[in-house]
């Protein structure tokens, strides 16, 4: 795999604030890497350095083989950037915005016309194409913003929290578009605070906090780091908790935890649904009534909590 984006030991300070504290990052060609972190983790700063908007204090980075500090114009020629906040002109129409950005990418006028049409349709903006952006909703602006970064069909795309502030339907639509882009060969670096989003889109997830990588891997390997699956059984009679725990001991791969308050037994397992069936049979054969039973897989929220000691904040 060829690395299209590579960063080594990026450090960026703003006065006393250390926004990046030695960030390393590798994004292989044609993949999506998700940069996941809470508010202030340094996601935007990292994106700004990689897109040539900021210079790192120390460390270096290349995009498509071009050095972001020494060859910024080369880098700009191959990337598309959708920043954290929609960066489009309020007074122009959707079409005029796309034309302006197309012109500034020095693209052929005829190509810009066709491409704009295609993007406006793809992003569900065809009807609003000739309206001033002052009449657009936040979601429409965000979609146009993404369209603008795609006008030159960049092979490398930077998306800084692309779905923050979108409703669930628009979010799903955007996920689809990103998946399509990757299918077309685009390499994507995506930042997000939504764990679900990283899980959905990114092959590799890089978790950062306080400007440093604290974990990375696929969403599965990250979940394994936190521990495997867990069966949670809620009983109708909390007096039987101890007996249930004893019955389930052979299924468990770790320490069984009982919660008297909730009448719940939590059993760590590795066998997935087979262990679940086994556990239910054992309880059933002794006539213990089950109010509720689930096989719980760790979420990225659990990952985050384990790694950082605090929950990822949700902006909404």
């Amino acid at each position: 795999m060829v690395a299209v984006i590579e960063a080594h030991g990026l450090v960026k300070k703003f006065g006393d604030v250390v926004a990046l504290d030695g960030l390393d990052l590798v994004v292989p060609e044609g993949t999506v890497v998700g940069l996941l972190g809470p508010n202030g983790a340094g996601k935007t700063t990292a994106v700004r350095i990689l897109t040539t908007l900021l210079k790192p204090d120390t460390g270096n980075a290349t995009v498509a083989g071009f050095d972001v500090v020494r060859q910024p114009n080369k880098v700009r020629g191959v990337i598309g950037l959708t920043g954290q906040y929609a960066a489009v002109d309020e007074y122009l129409t959707g079409r005029e915005n796309l034309r302006m950005f197309g012109d500034l990418y020095h693209l052929k006028a005829s190509y810009v016309r066709e491409r704009s049409l295609e993007l406006l349709e793809r992003f569900d903006l065809a009807d609003a194409a000739d309206r001033s952006l002052r009449t657009y909703s936040g979601g429409m602006r965000r979609r146009l913003d993404l369209a603008a970064s795609l006008i030159a069909k960049p092979s490398i795309l930077f998306l800084d929290e692309p779905t923050t502030g979108l409703d669930p339907r628009s979010r799903l639509g955007l996920w689809e578009v990103i998946t399509d882009l990757v299918a077309e060969g685009t390499t994507v670096l995506l930042t997000t605070q939504y764990l679900e989003e990283a899980d959905q889109l990114a092959e590799e997830i890089v978790v950062i906090d306080h400007g440093r990588v604290i974990a990375k891997g696929t969403s599965d390997t990250l979940k394994d780091d936190v521990g495997g699956d867990r069966i949670e059984v809620v009983l109708t009679d909390r007096g039987l908790l101890e007996r249930a725990a004893a019955l389930l001991a052979p299924v468990a791969t770790g320490e069984i935890v009982t919660d008297h308050e909730e009448a719940r037994v939590a059993v760590p397992v590795t066998g997935g649904s087979a262990s679940l069936i086994d556990a239910i049979r054992r309880l059933d054969s002794e006539g213990i009534d089950i109010a509720d039973v689930v096989l719980r897989r760790p979420t990225l929220d659990d990952v985050f909590l384990t790694l950082t000691g605090h929950v990822a904040e949700d902006e909404s």
Binding site: L53, V88, G185
Partner: protein
């Protein structure tokens, strides 16, 4: 996915225009800024209202109370003389205020993240600023036309031929372009558009009032007179009074007052030579906050 569908990075680029990419990009940005003028007529309307109100205020309210030494024929101030004297002052003040539009415009672009996006494009550095200053100066053409008509209605006249009057208007537009660079530089330091609204204007009031725009310099306290005489707005206003054939009042001994056109041109050139590089330098480092 077949190879045929791998289309990323395949957009066709156009060949380099004869004027070069710098001018091309600057014009793209200028067009965008001028479209804004058309789309938001309120903005243009209010930028016209202020100078028009000034014309009416000075012509009808203060006019009789401000004597123009060396221009008034008799002992009592002549209002029609003052109106002739006043209009170039209003023109000068108005074009100076073009700077505020650049300050606010750039602060807004920065706030909206547009500057970030422009900076991430492979466009020429400086095009955003050249486009901005060009558009802000170009907008003044319309403003000067409306002001000229208002002036005509209250008795202002062009007395020295179309050629000289054209020179006067060109000088005014060049000055507008110059202060747009100063305004841009200020704009790039603004933390938000609200601050830009204030900061874009504060320096312009003392600058325009410490000049011969509305009152003769000879009527100012002695210690202020040198400042007013070396103020580029004074030389601009004096130069246009001359070129329009309007009364100039008593002309001071200071070199700028003796050579108003030359001094105005030199001031503009120096200011652009200072503020264009400063602004571009700042632009290359700025990011949205």
């Amino acid at each position: 996915m077949s190879a045929a569908e791998k289309t990323a990075g395949s957009a066709p680029t156009r060949s380099r225009p004869i004027v070069g990419w710098g001018v091309h990009d600057g014009l793209v940005v200028a067009r965008r800024n001028l479209i804004q003028t058309v789309r938001v007529p309120e903005l243009l309307f209010f930028s016209l209202v202020q100078p028009v109100i000034f014309v009416l205020l000075f012509a009808f309210v203060f006019g009789g109370a401000i004597p123009i030494p060396g221009a008034d024929p008799g002992s009592a101030p002549d209002t029609s003389v003052y109106r002739q004297y006043l209009m170039p002052g209003i023109f000068g003040q108005t074009v100076a205020f073009a700077a505020a539009a650049s300050t606010v415009g750039l602060a807004e672009d920065m706030h909206r993240g547009l500057i970030d996006r422009f900076r991430s494009l492979p466009m020429s550095t400086g095009a955003v600023l050249f486009g901005r200053t060009f558009a802000d100066a170009a907008r003044q053409i319309l403003v000067l036309i409306v002001l000229g008509i208002t002036g005509y209605l209250v008795g202002w006249r062009i007395n020295d031929g179309v050629f000289n009057a054209t020179l006067a208007f060109i000088l005014l537009l060049f000055f507008a372009y110059t202060v747009a660079w100063v305004g841009s530089w200020i704009g790039l330091y603004m933390p938000n558009p609200e601050t830009a609204n204030t900061a874009g204007l504060v320096w312009l009031f003392p600058l325009t009032f410490l000049s011969n725009a509305f009152v003769p310099i000879t009527s100012m306290p002695d210690w202020l007179q040198p400042i007013a005489q070396w103020n580029p707005i004074s030389s601009l206003v004096l130069a246009t009074r001359d070129l329009f054939g309007n009364p100039t009042g008593i002309i001071g001994d200071a070199w700028p007052q003796q050579n108003p056109v030359l001094y105005t041109l030199i001031s503009c050139a120096v200011l652009i030579a200072i503020f264009a590089p400063l602004s571009i330098r700042r632009y290359r480092r700025t990011t949205a906050r």
